[in-house]
Symmetry: C2
Subunit: 398 residues, 2 copies
Amino acid sequence: MRIEIPTNAERFGANLFYPVQKIYELDGGFEVDSAFDNPFHVIQQIPYEQLYGIEKDLAIVIPVKDERLRLLEGVLSGIPHACLPIILSNSKSEPIDRFRMERNMVDTFCRYAKKKYIIAHQRSPELARIFTDGGYRHLLDDDGLVRHGKAEGMLAGIALAHLAGKKYVGFIDSDNFFPGAVYEYVRIFSAGLSQGKSPYSMVRIQWHSKPKIVGSELFFTKWGRVSRITNQYLNLFLSHYTGYETDVLRTGNAGEHALSMPLALSLDYSAGFSVETYHFVSLMEKFGGVLPGPYPEIMKNGVEVFQIESRNPHLHEAAKGDGHIREMIEYSLSVLWHSAICPAALKKEISAELRRQKITGKNREPVKLRQYPVLSGLNFKAAAKTTDWTQFGNFIPQ
Amino acid sequence: MRIEIPTNAERFGANLFYPVQKIYELDGGFEVDSAFDNPFHVIQQIPYEQLYGIEKDLAIVIPVKDERLRLLEGVLSGIPHACLPIILSNSKSEPIDRFRMERNMVDTFCRYAKKKYIIAHQRSPELARIFTDGGYRHLLDDDGLVRHGKAEGMLAGIALAHLAGKKYVGFIDSDNFFPGAVYEYVRIFSAGLSQGKSPYSMVRIQWHSKPKIVGSELFFTKWGRVSRITNQYLNLFLSHYTGYETDVLRTGNAGEHALSMPLALSLDYSAGFSVETYHFVSLMEKFGGVLPGPYPEIMKNGVEVFQIESRNPHLHEAAKGDGHIREMIEYSLSVLWHSAICPAALKKEISAELRRQKITGKNREPVKLRQYPVLSGLNFKAAAKTTDWTQFGNFIPQ
């Protein structure tokens, strides 16, 4: 990959938020290019070997919920071989057992491709056992099973990735029509993570564009309705503390993102569609230096957040209705509003925005979403002892 | 890349036409996977190093005609670094000088990415000079410039690729919305060509699907109207000689294709949109063993044609009207009809099809298109002597 060198990060406590980086080549060549032997170049080549160095330690969590099998197969074909796919399905098992079909398809595909994989149903007792035996019951409901929800599936995916011994974990949606875009997203993960100088780093993808059908034509939108609003208030949040207005944050709702495992285990998580926005809130709360926090290791090393613009548009299946969009706006803004360090002035502005969008009425607080504490609270040693890997596909940790 | 091993080719004289191969992984891993150490596996891994071995000798010709600059930039970003892009533009130079804009964009992009490139305008005297000085005037019109037309641009591209010392040449359209699809196409070229046991080989891409807007939804068509008809008659042509009905040929109109240079220089070419279909006609006429031909070297080595199905759908800009589709059908079928080895019965069927499609009237022959003899007739040594590479971008042959 050939990509801009990240510059001029906004600092907030121990956090460095880098501006969006532009990609020049999806494949930057096999050999190290001596054309870059010059300290004044603004583009860098990340050689394949370096990307591979990340990818062999990278698990890709693919949350699935009743998406089409052929799309999931395409997504698998786009993931670089060295990565370990973790399919976390919350698909129906009746009247048609979609999960069984997914499992069969993935198994056949990986048998042909000679690929290791992990698959789990979000509501299976085998998966729940990890959290029971690891003493992290926050994720379990009254039935003792992992709660419904995409964020909950993502947390289970992080736990599986860590148990599998992976050092990085990324997320890719299962309804992408373009395996070539999936391929690029994963390469962006490994390119981004390879830039990290701290063990605590994150990569977030800004989609190049999102094709919409307008009339009988395609229109390539750049900013989604939700992202536009989320990013605006995220930047105001940040600006309040730095004293300088900024638009550096562009990925407040980035579903496609990846984290180093130490960072993934050190963040709090929020339920539902606020999970991605809450990454920033958790970073600012915990490592922003405003609230006291017992994280000397992270404060010393710092946290790096890279934002990279994909070259591929994002064309996926799910069409989100208006109601869903308003829910997403509320969820994204609610985690800012409810933050212990949200400035009072910003709270007011957010409330006004939610009223303008006809999401909440006057004098009503935005919904407060369930939160999950750091996954490092899970006793992975205890969980590992009782994990039966044969239940989860063909991967056995070394 | 991980991909099916090609099987059960249809033989026609010295030609081997392989059935469509399916891809399992766009990136098949960095190291050689010992899981394939078994003679009974039906999937193969083509390691990155092997792909790279082809790509450093592969030129990618990108014909351009007034397409959007941003799409061309995206296409460039998708081409693996080791390949040499050759932009062959027939864009307008007035009232707006689009070619100058293309040239500036490509130059800036390649300056940042540190990429070698060749660019030429199809109607420039510099390009024409290659064919004048090389004594191949077939391609030139009365003004002494390379004729208009996509096929003509492709031929000029092949000549430039050969002058540049490249061993392979592939073609990618400039209006693809997905750089990840472009990336896959080129990887398919290098994977396919790396399979060749003969110095004379070709790779043709069958698109996974082509998204169409139907109502306000996307529908992923598998077979285009033109391809469906072209392939049907191509297969009938082949079946006539082998005595077995077949549907092995699926890529009669494959714009995305690549050839080894010895094969590219040994084929005849047909003008306009028939160029891709005519590949097959030329192969069957010259190396099919039906007509006598002075090609002992090729007859001995054989010709291999690989067909590979992409994982990415093909989403591009150009919308082709009904009139254009009928023209394409006529052009594709006309090269079969006019072939010296087209069986009389097939001629009748083609004529009937053209009448059914309301393309030609009764007792009218399909249009006879201009043909170009083998490019090996061009005196490349003479042309090389007078070629001023500084006119064509930043690439200087070694």
